[in-house]
């Protein structure tokens, strides 16, 4: 049981890394990976939102949608719950913890329309996970996201001083680096 959960974690976090093999969450990956500090803040915000939103959507799906036979409303439920959750979290943080808002809250507006959150909510249902698996999966995917984002931010801080061709400056060179990272991550495919 525990072994299964562990291999699920490794698969979701590293082998099927959400950015490098599934391509979800590309926008923040390109946008917020310029500094390590912002990458960490964004990563933590994503972990928090994905775990919270996954539990909410998982509960709603099995406790409300399935009994009422409204499974076809999954998509609209997920996106609305995620969006509402982000709004309430942001409000809560604004009111109660300015320091948390500084490090994490400013990234919350970027998360509402982050495909990673919706993807995890949907995969939890599509793969038929039980509650424990759902929790592990919802931690593993954003953990993989944060890992990749932080690695990328460290590389990009160095890249600032590199002699990049004019036309590759900005996003294109970031994508080339991502391609090299993807090769490295495919090398880990035999891990599990």
């Amino acid at each position: 049981m525990l072994g299964n959960l562990f291999s699920l974690f490794l698969t979701a976090c590293i082998i099927d890394n959400i950015i490098l093999s599934k391509f979800f969450g590309m926008c923040p990956f390109l946008g917020v990976s310029k500094k390590v500090s912002s990458a960490v803040g964004m990563g933590l915000a994503v972990i928090f939102v994905i775990v919270g939103a996954s539990i909410l959507t998982y509960g709603l799906y099995y406790l409300v949608l399935v009994p009422l036979e409204l499974e076809y409303m999954d998509l609209i439920t997920f996106i609305l719950v995620i969006a509402a959750f982000v709004q309430f979290v942001e409000m809560f943080i604004k009111k109660n913890s300015p320091s948390l808002y500084k490090s994490l809250g400013i990234y919350l507006p970027l998360i509402t329309t982050n495909c990673a959150v919706l993807y995890v909510a949907q995969q939890n249902i599509a793969n038929g996970y039980n509650f424990a698996e759902m929790l592990v999966y919802s931690v593993a995917v954003p953990a993989g996201f944060t890992l990749t984002l932080c690695i990328m931010a460290t590389i990009r801080e160095r890249l600032e001083f590199a002699n990049t061709p004019e036309s590759y400056k900005g996003n294109p060179i970031t994508l080339v680096v991502a391609a090299l990272m993807a090769i490295a991550f495919t090398g880990l495919a035999g891990l599990v």
Binding site: Y72, L75, I79, L118, Y119, A179, L180, T186
Partner: protein
């Protein structure tokens, strides 16, 4: 900006994918085959045009404070309908890219156009904008998938999405010379980077030409 210029802007100059970097997730993921690219492109055109029309039609009765929630409800409904239609009539495409169809909801092109264009312009203009931007997106998908498919597998093929019958299948590169890396995520990133850089070069050279003209 006049209508015609606005319509064609999305094709190359303001291409949503290579120019504005919108909708990258789906672009990189589904361009492994031409079939998927066309299926995805058409779904986006349908959703984008419909959402632009609806949002433009209700722009005057939408309270400004809660416009984003309204847009999201409209878009999510349209995406679900499109997904269900695809599942019913083009099952081979849906089984290949179904996840990405559902995630059109959070595709920045749709919400971006709703916010930047449809909420400020009339119904007809918004519909045109939707079709133009959607075509630009489809064009980008087709270019990328053709490159990746030819380099990765050497074969350019297209199958009828209804019956799964092969319409054409051309071997362009002999099998022993293909680079299978291009069908993997790595190839997606690389192809995208090169194409985006190429568009920058094109834009820069055009801007330089314009400057020269003005200097004269």
């Amino acid at each position: 900006m006049n209508r015609k210029e606005n319509f064609f802007a999305g094709f190359i100059r303001e291409n949503p994918v290579f120019g504005l970097y919108l909708g990258l997730c789906s672009t990189l993921a589904i361009t492994t085959s031409l079939n998927n690219a066309i299926g995805m492109g058409l779904s986006v055109i349908v959703v984008l045009t419909a959402s632009n029309i609806i949002i433009s039609a209700i722009r005057k009765i939408t309270p400004d404070e809660i416009r984003i929630p309204v847009y999201i409800v409209v878009i999510a409904t349209l995406v679900k309908i499109t997904g269900m239609l695809l599942q019913a009539y083009f099952d081979s495409i849906y089984s290949a890219i179904g996840v990405y169809i559902d995630l059109i909801v959070v595709n920045c092109i749709i919400l971006g156009r709703a916010e930047a264009f449809a909420s400020k312009n009339g119904i007809f203009d918004s519909a045109l904008d939707g079709i133009g931007m959607g075509l630009g997106y489809t064009l980008a998908l087709i270019v990328m998938s053709v490159i990746r498919q030819i380099l990765g597998s050497g074969i350019l093929s297209f199958a009828n999405p209804m019956t799964n019958e092969m319409i054409f299948s051309l071997r362009i590169i002999p099998e022993s010379f293909t680079i299978s890396m291009f069908t993997t995520p790595t190839g997606g990133f690389l192809t995208f980077a090169v194409l985006a850089a190429a568009l920058t070069v094109y834009k820069n050279s055009k801007a330089a030409k314009l400057q020269k003209k003005e200097a004269k």
